[in-house]
């Protein structure tokens, strides 16, 4: 249980700037997820918080104490690695108790603490086994056990589910969520999978090329993205984007011309600012906000491929002017490939982004 | 541990020292004496001959035998052990077996053959054959090492490449020439360098079987240096010879590093 503050933290290696000047504040007991594409610096950031990488400039404060130059053991943090990082030559019990042993805690006490952690994670039957005799899920639990036995202030997770198969990933995700509830601990979690981010996080930090693109709750990021990158990164399937131009501006809405969709103007009601007429923008709309409509009210598009997933289907359509869209179809219809249907976009859900990326 | 004596040696090469009293600075005299010494040139010549022999004969045998082993899955390990046996045995024992048991005129196998079949003269005793004889014994000792190194390298050729070639109709020999050999070129190159280095350093077998004779026909730089240091106590000269030995090795090693500079960059 602790607060974490990153102030103007930067990291460069040789002459390459990996993390731009970054500020972040985490409350007690929050579950924060760092998410972003490969190479965005999320793992590096996590390692800097852990104490495994030195900070080029800036401050890191845990519970108000400046830990920027302290080794991990003095920061009271624990980390769960992607590849578990279990000591192959030690038993489960020795693995979990290793940190306590280094700290000089006598054997009897060590045993007690290890047993407690093992009970929480249901690892008692495996205490005398070596890692190679365990399954992937069990190994991950041992790694988590090693983390919780030290009762750290911060839990750090570095893509812990990437090495598990789909079924196991789902189960372990639930276990981690439950762990967070039971321990009421502050957790920082790194992943490239936005589903994990959306399901586990209290708040998500979206990173790209070392910069924070947006911080917010999962729903904030989904329904109110700050820029085109976040809008396209969060949510599956990806948001539909097209180029457009502002044609008219009024009190509560804006009209745009979308050349690739069709003639005529489309209304957009989500703008927070009043851009000038004629501005080139990027429009975004999610697949669930486009619905079937009549020829008078909607625009035509040809069905290309339909992916049916059971409760929902996704239709990949193309307009005669070249726009490609993904449209979610909730109601079971027999959409024929090649047939032309008409669709309408909901104006309350069309986002407009400047050509530079920010939300308008 | 190695650096300090090496430095000392560098200095000593320019002096005359009998090992007991204080060294006397001679400048380049040692080197000049050596360069004027016929035996010195003989030794270099022998070393070069030795190197050429070793770069061809054992390498070729090793490559051929290694390729033969590729298709014998079950007996590979047995063959490997047999081929490696001469390599791991003590040079003294080996040299003794060959000199005394086999080549000896009176009591050895050769002597036996001489008396009952063909008269053969002692190959170790004749100026024209001595070097080749000792080289043969060392080849017998050394080739197994090359064989297993090449064998390991050949086994690492990705099987997909071999299968692709087979599908395209290549014969066994063609596959060997066009797929296997190119893939193990780095290993062959490395062995070239190692063989060169060791050829200039080689000492044991020559010393034990002929000690440089007869009439310096098997004198190598290493035996020359040894003799100078421990028999005539001209340590300064001995170290000068040693410097020459390392010179050849360094050139070989350096050219290897130079050729591989990209892959060795960390």
């Amino acid at each position: 249980m602790a607060t974490l503050v990153l102030q103007k933290v930067e990291k460069h290696f040789d002459s390459v700037q990996i993390i731009q000047s970054l500020d972040l504040s985490v409350e007690h007991g929050e579950f924060i997820v760092f998410v972003g594409p490969s190479g965005c610096g999320k793992s590096t950031l996590l390692r800097m918080i852990a104490g495994l990488e030195p900070v080029s400039s800036g401050e890191i404060r845990i519970d108000g104490n400046d830990v920027t130059n302290l080794p991990p053991v003095d920061r009271n943090v624990a980390m769960v690695f992607q590849n578990y990082a279990l000591y192959p030559h030690m038993t489960v019990e020795e693995n979990i108790g290793f940190g306590l042993r280094i700290a000089g805690i006598p054997k009897a006490q060590r045993r007690e603490k290890v047993m407690e952690a093992a009970r929480i994670l249901k690892l008692e039957p495996y205490l005398t086994r070596k890692p190679k005799a365990l399954s992937g899920g069990q190994r991950q639990r041992v790694a988590i056990g090693r983390a919780i036995v030290k009762k750290p202030k911060l839990f750090l997770f570095d893509e812990p589910l990437s090495n598990l198969d789909a079924e196991l990933r789902f189960q372990t995700r639930l276990e981690i969520a439950k762990l967070h509830q039971d321990l009421d601990a502050t957790m920082i979690y790194v992943t490239h999978d936005q589903v994990e981010a959306m399901t586990l996080a209290d708040r998500i930090v979206v990173l790209r090329s070392g910069c924070i693109e947006q911080i917010g709750t999962p729903m904030d990021l989904y329904a109110d993205p700050a820029n085109v990158f976040v809008a396209g990164f969060v949510g599956s399937p990806k948001m539909n984007f097209f180029d457009a131009r502002i044609s008219a501006v009024s009190e509560d809405s804006v009209s745009v011309k979308i050349p690739t969709i069709g003639p005529g103007d489309y209304e957009c009601r989500t703008l927070r600012s009043r851009p000038a007429v004629g501005t080139e923008v990027t429009l975004g709309i999610r697949s669930e906000h486009i619905g079937e409509s009549s020829p008078e009210r909607g625009f035509p598009a040809t069905i290309g491929i339909v992916e049916r997933l059971g409760s929902v289907s996704y239709a990949y359509v193309e307009t005669e002017h070249g726009a490609r869209l993904t449209i979610e179809r909730r109601v079971q219809r027999d959409d024929h490939i090649g047939s032309v249907m008409h669709f309408r976009m909901m104006p309350e859900h069309i986002f407009a982004f400047a050509k530079t990326g920010e939300r308008l | 541990m190695i650096f300090v004596p090496a430095l000392m040696t560098l200095v000593l090469a320019f002096t005359a020292w009998d090992g007991v009293s204080k060294p006397v600075w001679l400048g380049l005299d040692n080197f000049r004496d050596l360069l004027n010494d016929v035996i010195f040139w003989r030794a270099i010549f022998n070393n070069v001959k030795w190197t050429l022999i070793f770069l061809t004969v054992p390498m070729a045998i090793a490559l051929v035998v290694a390729s033969l082993l590729l298709t014998r899955r079950r007996s590979q390990a047995v063959y490997q052990s047999i081929f490696l046996l001469p390599y791991i045995l003590s040079p003294i024992a080996n040299a003794s077996i060959w000199s005394n048991m086999i080549f000896d005129q009176r009591s050895g196998v050769l002597g036996y053959f001489s008396r009952h079949l063909l008269a053969m003269h002692d190959p170790l005793g004749h100026v024209s054959t001595a070097l080749y004889t000792v080289a043969s014994v060392d080849i017998w000792h050394f080739w197994g090492y090359l064989a297993i190194v090449f064998f390991a390298a050949m086994r690492q050729v990705p099987s997909e490449q071999l299968e692709a070639a087979y599908l395209e109709g290549a014969s066994g020999w063609q596959i060997f020439r066009h797929i296997t050999l190119p893939n193990i070129v780095p290993t062959i190159a490395l062995m070239f360098v190692i063989v060169t280095i060791f050829s200039f350093l080689t000492f044991d077998y020559v010393y034990l079987m002929t000690a440089g004779g007869p009439a310096h026909s098997t004198e190598l730089l290493s035996t020359l240096a040894y003799g100078l240091a421990f028999r005539s106590f001209e340590v300064g000269k001995a170290t000068a010879v040693a410097l020459f030995m390392s010179l050849f090795g360094l050139v070989a090693a350096y050219s290897y590093v130079w050729m591989n500079r990209e892959s060795l960059r960390q």
Partner: protein, 276 residues
């Protein structure tokens, strides 16, 4: 694996058979003649012995001072192996884990150590040791042989450490371990197979070693088995039976060890030499 082709197996078999014969023939000769009297050998070196008497062996053992020799050889080999493995692993650890800025220099240094002849520093070292009265001291000689074997050993051990995932280092560091503790508790236990391979190679080299041993281990009491045999070879070359018996004694332990530890020998010799 590509199957053998339609061409006849015969020439292959013949060639391999020939090679095997040539490899083993001298050794068989040695074995056979170790049991014969000298006169019999002279008469026909290729004949089988009448009986398997151990007289030659006993004579060889005494003549070559093999009791002392064995002791010295074991001490020498043991010490060398210990020193090489201990120092080698300690050196290999930072080389494997840290990005050494002077990597090129380090490689060059090791390369030179390998190409440079032992003779280069043998002579000054000998006289230096003589001043310190260390000639004949098995442990002092072991240091020299260890030094000669160190560059290769460090390289081998380094490649072995590279196979240990660095996350283990990180996890231990987070657990609070100092670099020394990381080495002792995590890295070294996981290096054991690599250490064994290096130990086997160094042991082989040391046992068979001649040049350094003969230079530094002068005097009967300091002889190793190989040196003892060498001295005997000079004095007793008249009796071939004893000579062959002596050779047997020296060779047999190695062969036995080899047959058991083949895997390790081959691994050690080929790793690093094969670009995979």
């Amino acid at each position: 694996m590509i199957r053998s082709y339609q061409r006849s197996q015969l020439p292959d078999r013949l060639l391999l058979g020939l090679v095997v014969l040539v490899s083993l023939a001298p050794l068989l000769l040695m074995l056979v003649n170790a049991f014969k009297q000298h006169a019999d050998i002279v008469e026909n070196p290729l004949s089988l012995p009448h009986s398997l008497t151990m007289t030659n062996f006993k004579a060889a053992w005494i003549g070559g001072h093999f009791t002392v020799g064995l002791l010295n050889s074991v001490l020498l080999t043991g010490t060398t192996v210990l020193v090489t493995v201990a120092l080698g692993s300690l050196a290999a650890f930072p080389l494997a884990r840290h990005r050494i800025r002077l990597w090129k220099l380090v490689t060059l240094y090791f390369l030179c150590s390998v190409t440079v002849p032992i003779q280069l520093f043998l002579f000054p070292l000998y006289f230096f040791y003589a001043r310190l009265s260390l000639i004949g001291n098995v442990f002092a000689t072991a240091l020299i042989i260890a030094a000669v074997n160190l560059p290769l050993s460090v390289m081998l051990l380094r490649t072995y450490i590279l196979t240990i995932p660095p996350e283990l280092d990180d996890a231990a560091f987070i657990d609070g371990a100092s670099p020394w503790q990381i080495f002792c508790y995590v890295i070294f236990p996981l290096m054991k197979p690599g250490c064994v391979t290096v130990a086997v190679i160094v042991a082989l080299n040391t046992w068979n070693e001649f040049l350094i041993t003969s230079t530094f281990q002068q005097g009967d009491a300091g002889f190793t088995m190989t040196l003892g045999y060498h001295a005997m070879a000079g004095a007793m070359s008249a009796d071939l039976g004893i000579m062959m018996a002596g050779a047997c004694i020296i060779i047999v332990p190695i062969i036995v060890l080899f047959l058991f530890l083949q895997r390790l020998f081959v691994d050690g010799m080929t790793s690093g030499a094969v670009k995979g």
